[in-house]
Symmetry: C2
């Protein structure tokens, strides 16, 4: 068995959009991910990577199809990697709500039944997927994170817990203080149990207060986002970051909502932000 299996490839902005399946040793199931390789990567140059994390209900494909990021990744010479948002399959635990279970892994390592066997998305995104990417694709060791909504939570949280591994992080409408909203509270109760001390290690607002990072942070938030502020609380995160002197840019975008139309409007500035952090 090959370690990764190519499912589809499409020429895109003179590079290639590809989708792969592989067996995840952390999640103990088959996983899919997508990758965008600019032409310079296809020529063999080792390029930096932005890991792009999706939100609730998304697979790896939503960001690929809707964000428009590849146009700018092609211009700058940046590889994009889009993971799925959870383990999948008929043998994988699930719930009847969109904010828990398949499509809603919240980028944590579950400790509770019935989630513990497959829901190890933190280790998957931090360790397993970068190992695969760095083994099979022409990338260098410059990494950053970008995410939308639940993926914005994942991007901020993972970067803050691993400041030595990432050069920047950006987020669109992130769940920036998950322990303060019902999405985060319900997911963390299910995956991590009732002890709120176990939630704090995955809460970006808690993390940035305890350990302000050396890298820059960019956040965009739509002013008419239907989940703002109750589920997202970016202002809590930004206040904590500024109090600690972190290099953070925060834009409240008038009249924008939570959709990928919002993401696609500002994705150019996010990819440029990552390019700057990579020294391109």
């Amino acid at each position: 068995m090959p370690e990764i299996t190519l499912l589809a490839t499409h020429q895109l902005f003179n590079g290639e959009q590809r989708r792969y399946r592989h067996y995840s040793r952390y999640n103990q199931c088959d996983m899919t991910f997508s990758v965008y390789l600019p032409s310079r990567a296809l020529q063999g140059y080792r390029l930096p990577v932005v890991y792009c994390l999706g939100g609730l209900t998304c697979t790896d494909e939503n960001f690929c199809i809707k964000s428009g990021a590849q146009r700018f990744a092609a211009e700058w010479g940046i590889v994009l990697v889009m993971p799925d948002t959870s383990p999948r399959g008929t043998d994988v635990a699930d719930a009847n709500i969109y904010s828990l279970g398949q499509g809603a892994g919240f980028y944590v390592n579950a400790t509770q039944q019935p989630w513990v066997q497959h829901y190890q998305m933190y280790d998957y995104v931090v360790t397993e997927l970068p190992e695969l990417i760095e083994k099979h694709f022409p990338v260098n060791e410059q990494r950053s994170l970008c995410g939308h909504s639940m993926g914005g939570h994942g991007a901020l949280m993972i970067a803050l817990k691993n400041p030595q591994r990432y050069l920047a992080v950006s987020a669109f409408a992130p769940i920036a203080h998950p322990i303060a909203g019902t999405w985060g509270q319900e997911a963390f109760t299910a995956y991590l149990g009732e002890n709120q001390a176990d939630w704090a290690v995955y809460d970006s607002t808690e993390l940035i207060t305890q350990n302000p990072p050396p890298f820059p942070i960019l956040i965009d938030q739509g002013s008419v986002d239907e989940y703002y502020p109750a589920q997202l609380h970016p202002q809590d995160f930004v206040q904590a970051a500024r109090f600690k002197g972190v290099n953070i840019r925060y834009h409240l975008r008038k009249d924008y909502d939570h959709s990928y139309y919002f993401v696609s409007t500002f994705i150019e500035s996010h990819i440029s932000f990552h390019a700057e952090a990579f020294g391109l």
Copy 2:
């Protein structure tokens, strides 16, 4: 009852992406369409319109979500209108294949049972929808057409049959000679009957031979498109156009396929082409 009912609106590139429902007198059913209004339209300036026609299986939303056209429509100050590709509903005739019936109207006026009652997409796109758009939105009388696959057929065919109404037409992987491929043959047989003389009036290669247009034409085609050339035959159309001295640009794009990834790669050049035709 209002003539058009707003279903959704999203801020996008400082303008608005909106979706509407209305009752179509030609198709005798409710129809949906989408429209992108740049900020200058929201300020009340009357702008030119590109009608963007979708392909087989698409609704009005595929082009909205996947093409990336709005970024450039916003820059140029162009309104985009995306119609659905057929009538819809449980009372509307359908077929068990993706290339006929709902999602596959082929932009013709059906004359045969069971299609004749609802499948009047030619009159809908040429007459009814522009009347609605010009009544309800800040547009001027500058119109053009763009389409993908079956929508490329629709765009070329409608422009060629109405050269006084349109200033330009562009297409991605159009079904440019439908009477020469099985998609077109099967659809025209169903909608128009067995008499092939009735097909020719909707065949772009036949039309351009008989009546070469005064407006410019732009076509992009992917070289590894899975439907090229058997269903599409752009080379027949281009040869006929060049023989007649038509202003046509044709690009065979190496390694690109039939998907919206291909469309999104070249949409910027198409919107610029329309802008030039509008004198922007």
